[in-house]
Symmetry: C2
DNA sequence: GTGGTTGCAAAGGCTTTGCAGGCAC
DNA sequence: GTGCCTGCAAAGCCTTTGCAACCAC
């Protein structure tokens, strides 16, 4: 296994995601990071994101038909996805842990996490 | 709005997903459907899947880095995703409805469904 | 007959990868 | 100095789309 280096590029990618209020995708992150490391390439953004996810610094959010988004909020939390505009919002309310229920239902499986995702219409789309 | 036609192709695609024990992706469905409608094209499979999802006959399951999978089980249920092999399993245990909690946390939003997804290692991968 | 649907092939969007040079350690 | 990382560009994978022929209604 290779030793991970904290290069300017990698650090800039991490910070771009952390400072984003939304849940940006690779293209959006690329745009942001260019302001910090002008020479960075999109390929490096993807490789940095991959490394950061592997190291547990970022989470991925995937929705059908949309590019992968990244989330720097590591505490366990749910997401709300607007079915109209595709925007993703954090849901920080504490939810009951249903992992034990699944573990019971799936004998012989190792269930170690649960992700909850809500769907509907966000405030703004609802008003239009 | 167009009237939807139940062509041989569309019906064969639906049946292929319904008869599959796993949660197949478009390529896998294409392979299956060819045995029924030999001349079908992959493009038609995608268009049929799109129509079937829009009509509510199928659900989509998306995981980062994997092609979209389809699920014909319409009753509300959770999925377990094996982080080792990527396989998706149904979790049919009844889980508490957390939608009201999210609705409360997201004022002004219209929260109309919740999806729960468990992660871990499946029985087979655990034994290897 | 009408217009949604199909098959084919090309194009599209997002992401990964090969390579030579560069830089963190 | 070593070998991981970068920038660039090409390739890859999955999916969508344009078009003319086709067929369900």
């Amino acid at each position: 296994m290779a030793i991970v280096r904290f290069t300017r590029q990698r650090q800039a990618v991490l910070e771009a995601v952390q400072q984003s209020t939304e849940h940006p995708d690779a293209a959006k992150i690329f745009d942001e990071v260019r302001h910090v490391v002008a020479s960075i390439s999109l390929g490096t953004v993807y490789r940095s994101l991959e490394a950061l996810v592997a190291e547990g610094h970022l989470l991925q959010i995937q929705q059908p038909g949309m590019p992968t988004r990244y989330d720097a909020r590591l505490e366990n939390h749910a997401h709300f996805v607007c079915d109209s505009c595709g925007e993703v919002f954090d849901v920080l309310t504490k939810l009951p842990d249903v992992t034990p229920l699944a573990a019971q239902a799936l004998e012989g499986f190792d269930v170690n996490s649960a992700r909850v995702e809500f769907h509907g219409q966000c405030k703004r789309c609802r008003q239009n």
